[in-house]
């Protein structure tokens, strides 16, 4: 335990994802050593992001707030009329949108769940933006939902859960394929990935 403000900083840092008590201590002492200007720039950046950025009222992507007090912003992608409003790609976090956008393979809209089902950590569908997704299906005339959650146990559980929820709504539901990373060697592939790549194989035009 340290004197008041230092411990306060360590406690705050320790609440960040992936930061344990030891890392919190290390970052706190790094911050203590910063020049006043550097420290103020960091705190100003945090303040600015809290003031000017919120979550998109439609898809929960990050969205810039246009005017002061405008809490109901639309993100850049939702505001783009050229994008296909009938297809929605469901992701866990806004950073996943960035990854999908880089592929240039998708021109529909997104929906950010803000997490994934993680029973062992007590995170269930109620803590995610699932209800909001369901209300979008009818409201926006969505015909296809692409489940683009992470290919790990939490993401798979989330995708299966959503698929079950969506199937009675008559909307086409697809899951991104699992396969081998391009540029890698087959012999290093794990059995589950290679197995799925085999069952998801497609015909090659001769």
């Amino acid at each position: 335990m340290y004197a008041g403000p230092v411990q306060g900083l360590i406690d705050e840092l320790g609440r960040l994802p992936g930061v344990g008590p030891k890392s919190a201590q290390r970052i706190a002492f790094h911050l203590l050593k910063l020049s006043k200007e550097d420290a103020q720039r960091l705190s100003a950046a945090i303040n600015e992001v809290k003031e000017r950025v919120s979550f998109c009222r439609r898809c929960f992507n990050v969205a810039e707030v246009a005017a002061e007090g405008d809490g109901d912003a639309l993100c850049e992608l939702c505001g783009d009329a050229r994008r296909d409003a009938t297809v929605v790609c469901v992701v866990e976090e806004p950073r996943d949108i960035v990854a999908v956008e880089k592929t240039q393979e998708f021109s529909g809209r997104y929906h950010v769940l803000q997490g994934a089902i993680n029973p062992i950590e007590g995170v269930g569908p109620d803590q995610l933006r699932v209800r909001e997704l369901l209300s979008r299906i009818e409201g926006e005339g969505i015909t296809e939902v692409i489940l683009c959650t992470n290919p790990n146990i939490e993401g798979e559980a989330t995708a299966m859960y959503l698929a079950r929820l969506l199937s009675p709504l008559g909307v086409k539901t697809t899951r991104i394929a699992s396969g081998l990373p391009v540029g890698g060697d087959l012999e290093y592939a794990d059995e589950l990935t290679l197995g799925r790549a085999l069952s998801g194989r497609r015909e090659v035009e001769g």
């Binding site: 790990n152 299966m160 290093y188 197995g195």
Partner: protein
Amino acid sequence: MSPSRLYRDQGVVLRTIRLGEADRIVTLVTPGHGKVRAVAKGVRKTKSRFGSRLEPISHVNLLMYEGRELDIVTQAETLDHFRTIREDLDRMGRAQSLLEAVDQVAQERELSARLYSMLVGALRSLAARDAPLLMGAFFWKLLSSEGAHPLLDHCATCGAPEDLVAFDLVEGGALCRACRRGVPVTPEALALLRRVLGGGLAAALEEPAGPVVAEVEQLATRSLEHHLERRLRTLHVLDRSR
């Protein structure tokens, strides 16, 4: 200070948490080293050589470096990835409850060959067939191996051999009509429970879904939660009612 040491063991991945940019801390139950917590470096990268091998439920052969607090996974080789469990939401949910229960019961660095083989057996069974009684039966077997074997043939209070109508979590057994407290229990559920714990497990797992199976499962859950002095999160997060 002893130098870090390389060791081999098998394990089932119980849970993982993200660490730093691309790593995870993986919790495993092993026969030779008990519950082990180890760092899997780079495992979240799509080109990680671990791939899916260190995801929860995976049954793996391991080569590990022993560390002071956390070990380090240097190699992992799949023994079984239980694909049929992973691709079925209900089975995956049940598997996670098995993993959570084992995670709660297992002690770090303590031999746990029995616990390990019970879990591997239950996962194999779940992968082969989604038996309605599997999770409840596993919880009972787990309690029994923890020394909390329930008294089923006589009243836990007065010893009466008949008219057993209730089950008391504190006494850990059935109670007769005169001594009854706790939760009511049917003779059919007691009979099924005797089969589960008395060497008739394989046959008991053939039992179709129904009120008796549900009763045995509910009693198992309550007893295990009482024993652990905490709730099992995985049971309450997803509504898995059939």
